[in-house]
Symmetry: C2
């Protein structure tokens, strides 16, 4: 009873506050009432958090090809069925299969020290007894290129500090050292590359993530140091102290592994053939539990869709939850979905992705045709009193990105990413890092988007031809 | 010039503010002026922080018997000489020599998962292929004792959460699961014991620390799980889910190793035979860099003594810095000092210990005879305007504790320990965790104590006979 009363009070507040918004109303009275119910329900339930817990406890780390990967697919199928989704099924995906194996790093000079490091995702391994060499530092890829002969036979160390911030922009500014550092270092003849983890916390844990070996360049071993260990090396090297280390990586790439996207639906009441996709990715890096990346997104997607399905009237169009495979090291799931559903993408009226953790949502980002803007603006104005009224061009995510080529409008919540990169891709990505309250705000934002996209009289305008090629990863 | 002006201004403020204190003044005008200079100097210098950095970069982890342990002794000798101490020398100590070796933990049921764990200090190792068993939980030592037959052949898991707080009282309330858990578990026939780390942070790193095997009880392997992994096991077990794991510890105890206390002095100008000791411990656990525990204490002790020595007039009595060996796993350094200097302890007029990290100081704790109180109260009143006026019965520390039996008055700063147990005894104890500003407040408090003890007309009254046996560890 207390919960029902709270829901009603919250809904009444939202209904009362909404007419103050300045844009002319496009949302119908029924839609406003349903949206108010959704937002209130989202903020009153721990459903997403409990879903994250279930996933983590059922699978653990779940990189494609790992035992946890298979456990996660099995869990997702059960979980969607248990929550009342229909047409629950898996869609096969062949994905890169990379294994970390045993790995270690030892500082040899100026002092003996066990280093905290990990191979970057996709790295080749070293010989069994490792690579031992002096270390030369660069603070950017340009500086690395300029090392020239000085890097020959050395371990190149890239020291660049990622800045913390709500937009996560520091990640984009820093991640090239991870993705491209190995090939830059190989071009100047380095034996291996180690980077300062692309991360914002100072927990002494390294952060992995995919690298890209450039075509035609030697593949050299690549690892990330915990920021503390990186800063120690930087301190020595800044004083001209000789630094020597050994890096031993047991990493290897095996033949592609069979995994799957997991799908479940809430069928549309009027236009079941028109589809709104909502997804997160089911896979995770091997070091952590994949709580923030992307257990949180799976929890948000499932719970938001479930809440829309729990409204008194089913939505006009079909809502399809897709839990994508292999976002982390290949994007095979997102690519496979777009390929398998190519004939159906013209009937995809929108796709919403959740892949930025549990940080508080403040609104949504969007990519669609220009005529969508007044409708979305009305939605944002309605959501403003709930703290979800921000609206920004640019949305979607890696997994739904391939649908952009077909013009499918793309959406995502705007989130506070200040803490996300504290744990992202590290052993520290565990359940305790998930913010239950932040999760609720994301469920509210995503549920509102799903409802609006599935219920609008006409679908929002598709991404114009000219904008479809600017694909976002 | 700017620095000298700032020092003078700060000193003037302290001098002006001090007469407001309510206790009748005992400190002479000269002492008040010198104390004001000391406090201002302490707050204006990064000396302690740079000393911590030097130590860490010169030695790394430095458990007794390890390569880092020897590097630390060599560094300490150089560092004391470089800072102008005299009679710098080492005093031999034979200490327990424990090595961690390789270790790992695997969750086998309900999911496969690499666990984040470490052996407790002093633990025996397992057989090379480890201990594999089902896990039974207890939330206290009493509950463990009550497991009886249910624990037989099992891995006993003790789940108890340490509370965070400025006094660090949560540590005392929780640490018995670490020190005594193994013997309690052995008494009910357990194959091994694992505990939730005695720690306040949620970084996914385990915290080690010494255990005590009880006489006449089987020694079983003992490890600490990162709090996240412990909470995962607790979640499974709370639902009745079967949990099975394998624990492999390569730990072993070798013959005692030769190490040393490192000593340096500022000779007294009038009574060089009367001594004020100030110390921290030079050793550290093997997992981290020993920054907070106890690089910070070494930095505080050295810098506080250096500042007293840098006053225009040398102190009346001798100030002796002692960097103790083997505090962590045996206390051999503190015991050896008291033994080697037994004949001289009657001339020890006080001992100050710094071993609680870099958290902000707010005053000092003391154990001495009752007639010391007015003098110390006057000192506290003088320090109050500098934020260092708290005064509390109880002080000292593990290393100076053995001197209590001889009645040597014991002191330490009162510190905010809220963050100390986030990193204590873990890989996360790195330079970036040291608070440079907090360190300065400790230097100020310790320097003031050293000065007051070395300069007072008569020594403070010794600990009364009746109180000497209540030794504090």
């Amino acid at each position: 009873m207390r919960r029902a009363a709270a829901l009603a009070a919250a809904a009444a507040f939202i209904l009362a506050a909404a007419p103050l918004a300045s844009a002319p109303p496009i949302l119908t009275g029924r839609m406003r009432a349903d949206l108010a119910t959704l937002v209130a329900s989202a903020k009153a339930t721990d459903g997403a958090y409990e879903t994250v817990r279930e996933l983590l406890e059922a699978s653990g780390p779940r990189l494609a090809g790992s035992p946890g990967g298979a456990l996660a697919v099995a869990w997702a199928t059960r979980a969607l069925e248990a929550r009342g989704f229909v047409n629950v099924h898996t869609e096969p995906v062949m994905a890169p299969h990379w294994e970390r194996g045993e790995e270690s790093g030892q500082l040899l000079l100026p002092i003996p020290l066990k280093l905290s490091l990990c191979a970057l995702g996709g790295s080749v391994g070293t010989a069994p007894d490792g690579v031992e060499a002096d270390v030369v530092e660069a603070t950017s890829l340009d500086a690395l290129d300029a090392l020239g002969e000085k890097a020959k036979g050395k371990i190149v160390f890239i020291w660049k500090v990622m800045e913390r911030g709500p937009s996560g922009a520091g990640y984009g500014a820093t991640v090239p050292i991870r993705s491209d550092g190995a090939s830059h270092a190989a071009r100047v003849g380095a034996a291996a590359v180690v980077i300062r983890s692309v991360a914002t916390s100072n927990a002494r844990l390294p952060h992995t993530g995919a690298l890209n070996y450039a075509e035609g360049v030697a593949k050299i071993p690549a690892a990330a140091l915990a920021v503390n260990d990186a800063d120690l090396l930087h301190s020595y090297l800044s004083k001209g102290t000789r630094v020597r280390m050994r890096l031993t990586l047991g990493a290897r790439t095996l033949p592609d592994a069979a995994t799957a996207n997991v799908v479940g639906e809430i069928p549309g009441r009027e236009k079941p053939g028109e589809i709104v996709v909502v997804g997160g990715h089911l896979d995770s890096w091997d070091l952590g539990m994949g709580a923030e990346d992307d257990g949180a997104g799976c929890g948000i997607a499932i719970e938001a869709a479930r809440l829309v399905g729990a409204l008194p009237r089913r939505p006009r169009r079909t809502i399809r939850v897709v839990l994508f495979a292999n976002e982390e090291n290949g994007l095979a799931g997102g690519l496979a979905y777009a390929k398998a559903h190519a004939a159906e993408l013209a009937q995809h009226v929108g796709a919403v992705e959740a892949d930025a953790g549990s940080g508080r949502a403040s609104g949504f980002g969007w990519i669609a045709g220009p005529s969508a803007e007044p409708f979305l603006h009305d939605l944002a104005a309605f959501l403003a009193p709930s703290g979800l009224g921000e609206m920004r061009k640019g949305g979607g995510g890696a997994d739904v990105g391939p649908m952009r080529l077909a013009g499918v409008p793309l959406f995502s919540a705007i989130q506070d990413a200040s803490r996300y990169f504290d744990v992202h891709h590290s052993a520290d990505d565990t359940l305790d890092k998930v913010d239950p309250e932040g999760l609720k705000t994301n469920v509210a934002a995503v549920a509102a988007l799903l409802y609006a996209l599935s219920e609008s009289e006409t679908p929002v305008e598709r991404i114009p031809e000219a904008e479809r090629r600017r694909q976002r990863r």
